[in-house]
């Protein structure tokens, strides 16, 4: 056995610990009138069998327990830019207001140099703005993109500031992902920018849509085929584009525990990696373009830290041992190592408390050696559109953790803690257990089809809520400390946002007029033949649909029209009843 402790010394510690329990601890409990201690206490005995080099090692090296990089993101200039939390470094903040024209003008005024596009729900679900099912949702949760013209208009925001080969574009789009990518590629062609020079990330993680976020369209198999198409097409023509951003966040927010979130996310990731392997691509090549979003987070401080440390180890082992990846880049969760408290832990009651919850998440990030920030703005609970005051507070919270408290000084400061190392092992085992159970039900795709994952998440969400309902889990201002003597602290939000929400009221109307105009102007014959080609190719499982989507979008076929053709061939996903 390889242990960092001297075995004789360990025996002595064991003896001394017993003595301590019988004397000091017992005496303390007697004075307090308690029968047992409310706290756990750890010693080297709890980590006695550990092989340091095998289990922990060094930051930036397998198995990454002590950090993804030798110098953590939080200590780099890149981290400085990121510390605003919701402010992504190059693509800019996730946004989309009303129509493409309005968002274009806003982005231009902000002098943005990157696109991080929020699409409205109809676009995400493959419905045009004029579809009856889109009523009430057009331009709401983001912008409507019906045709290539919408993307062309949006990207006018960057004219004179940057070009497509000098910027990053992020698309939070899943089921119709390849149609939006085809639009982006068509836009690049029109501007004379080679696809090989494009940088960006589509979300493209359909499995978590089936189980948590809900913007699915087609059944799991054809959906997975289209992700294969992204992988194979991009590896050949757009090798600098990321192909997927694998998400745990939405499942965590939907109610999955930290361990379930990790296990489900890895099970999904395994299914996606397998697509590339089955397409006979070199795993070390295509993994360069796989990214992770994050795993969300809650208020269980220690478990969240242990989960983050265990995650790095689990993923490294999956890639190295299961998929035989040789390049260390394939062993890390690129982008997936952030640690924070997610907005589902935020409360509408006494909402400024959310600032404190966010800061606790920021501390967790440093202690778990992941990427971190000052938390989501406290007013996230009111819906989309944070106030400038709330954003300022989050930004400053991150800065205070970094510069005043100097949390960035050490890499993985809890490494070697008897407690945290023991808990990391324990949580790791729990994560493997979730992954094994997913394999037992046939893997991620089968788990979605049978409703297994959905049921597990719903069960956890309900359990969590029951704990609040019974008082077993305390949420300050929600189920405890709610008496009349408590003060509801709500700070003002007065700095006007540059986007006037009144514009939202008429956004749908304006988008409908835009769509009608494009439909009238386009060459309908070209649209029809392009859609016919999509229909034919959709039936051939081995073929890649992206070039055919490109022909269709260039003819200004709509997202809804293309999706309707695919619905015709693939059918639609029917959610299994899970209650």
């Amino acid at each position: 056995m390889v242990t960092v402790f001297d075995p004789e010394r360990l025996e002595e510690i064991e003896k001394k610990k017993k003595e301590w329990e019988e004397t000091t601890l017992r005496e303390n409990l007697r004075r307090l009138g308690m029968s047992e201690s409310p706290c756990q206490f750890y010693t080297p005995l709890d980590v006695r069998d550990r092989d340091y080099l095998q289990k922990e090692g060094f930051p930036g090296q397998y198995p990454y327990t002590r950090g993804t990089y030798a110098v953590p993101v939080y200590a780099t200039p890149f981290g400085e830019v990121l510390e605003g939390g919701v402010v992504a470094p190059r693509a800019g903040q996730y946004a989309g207001y009303g129509t493409v024209e309005e968002t274009r003008d806003l982005w231009r005024a902000e002098k943005r140099r990157g696109a991080n596009i929020a699409f409205d729900l109809p676009t995400q679900c493959g419905y045009d703005s004029d579809n009856p099912l889109a009523e009430g949702e057009v331009g709401r949760a983001g912008i409507a993109v019906d045709t290539l013209r919408d993307l062309e208009t949006l990207y006018e925001a960057f004219e004179g500031l940057t070009t497509l080969d000098g910027m990053v574009s992020n698309f939070t789009i899943n089921a119709p992902c390849n149609i939006i990518l085809a639009m982006y590629f068509a836009l690049a062609e029109k501007k004379g920018v080679p696809l090989a020079k494009l940088h960006g990330t589509p979300q493209n993680d359909i499995l978590k849509e089936f189980v948590a976020r809900g913007t699915y369209i087609f059944p799991p198999e054809p959906s997975m085929r289209m992700i294969r198409d992204t992988i194979t097409y991009c590896s050949k023509y757009a090798p600098e584009m990321n192909v997927i951003s694998i998400c745990g966040y939405h499942m965590r927010e939907a109610g999955a525990s930290e361990v379930q979130t990790a296990g489900f996310t890895f099970a999904h990731a395994i299914a996606y990696v397998q697509l590339g392997v089955d397409a006979r691509l070199d795993v070390d090549q295509f993994m360069r373009r796989f990214t992770f979003l994050d795993f969300g987070g809650g208020m269980d401080f220690w478990r969240e830290i242990a989960r983050a440390r265990a995650n790095r180890r689990v993923w490294a082992r999956i890639m190295k041992e299961r998929f035989g990846a040789k390049n260390p880049r394939s062993w890390i969760m690129s982008g997936g190592d952030s640690i924070f408290v997610g907005p589902s832990a935020y409360t509408l009651q006494r909402p400024l408390n959310n600032l404190i919850r966010g800061v606790i998440g920021g501390v967790m990030g440093y202690l778990g050696a992941g990427f971190t920030f000052g938390g989501f703005p406290w007013d996230e609970v009111y819906g989309l559109g944070h106030s400038y005051e709330a954003r300022q507070l989050s930004l400053d919270a991150g800065r205070i953790l970094r510069h005043e408290a100097k949390l960035k000084q050490v890499v993985d400061p809890l490494g070697g803690s008897y407690f945290v190392e023991a808990l990391t092992d324990e949580v790791e085992e729990e994560i493997w257990d979730v992954i094994r159970k997913m394999e037992d039900v046939g893997g991620a795709v089968e788990a979605v089809k049978s409703g297994y994952t959905q049921r597990e998440i719903a069960r956890s969400a309900y359990k969590f809520h029951r704990e609040i309902e019974t008082g077993e889990r305390v949420i300050v201002g929600v189920n405890k400390y709610t008496g009349e003597e408590e003060l509801e602290v709500v700070p003002p939000r007065l700095v006007p946002h540059p986007y006037d929400p009144k514009k939202l009221e008429s956004a749908a109307e304006r988008q409908l007029a835009r769509l009608a105009r494009i439909k009238k102007e386009r060459d309908q014959g070209r649209v029809d033949s392009a859609l016919k080609a999509v229909h034919e190719v959709a039936k051939k499982e081995d073929e890649n649909l992206i070039p055919y989507f490109m022909d269709a979008v260039k003819a200004y076929a709509t997202v809804g029209e293309i999706c309707d053709v695919l619905r015709d061939v693939f059918g639609e996903y029917e959610a299994p009843s899970i209650l």
């Binding site: 995400q124 009430g136 949702e137 939907a254 109610g255 009651q349 309900y462």
Partner: protein, 137 residues
């Protein structure tokens, strides 16, 4: 009380919003509280919601929406219920609903709005207290 038939509730997600944690938790919670609960699943049109309500002969419809479309979709459900002659059905709502929208929805027949942090016992009590007497049984 003992041999009274349980109150039937339809929990529905109108619109394209897929955030269904709240809807599912409420459905499970009301079921545990002794109600008979039917959950529609996500992506329902107001028309589908009302058809389900009529078919299942529910006394209560609980609508959940987190996308911002509640101002259009919730009143539409009420309107369609009234057109079907079922103004007796108690319509309540939840989700990310700005405070200023609560009176707007109230005027349009959404009788109560329960947002984040509401305990299910409170919703259960509200339903029991606010069902018209002739619909209690």
């Amino acid at each position: 009380m003992a041999d009274q038939k349980p109150i039937r509730v339809l929990i529905a997600k109108p619109g394209l919003d897929g955030h269904d944690r709240g809807a599912k938790v409420i459905a499970l919670g009301l079921r545990d509280a002794g109600f008979e609960v039917i959950y529609t699943g996500i992506r329902q049109t107001p028309d589908m919601v009302v058809r389900a309500a009529l078919q299942e002969d529910v006394q209560v419809v609980g609508l959940s929406c987190l996308s911002g479309a509640h101002r259009i979709l919730f009143p539409k459900v009420v309107q369609l219920l009234r057109q079907s002659g079922r103004e007796d059905v108690l319509v309540i709502g939840g989700g990310v609903i700005p405070e200023e929208d609560v009176p707007f929805l109230g005027e349009r027949g959404v009788q109560a709005v329960f947002t984040s942090g509401t305990l299910i016992t409170r919703i259960a009590d509200y339903i029991r207290e606010n069902l018209p007497a002739d619909r209690q049984a």
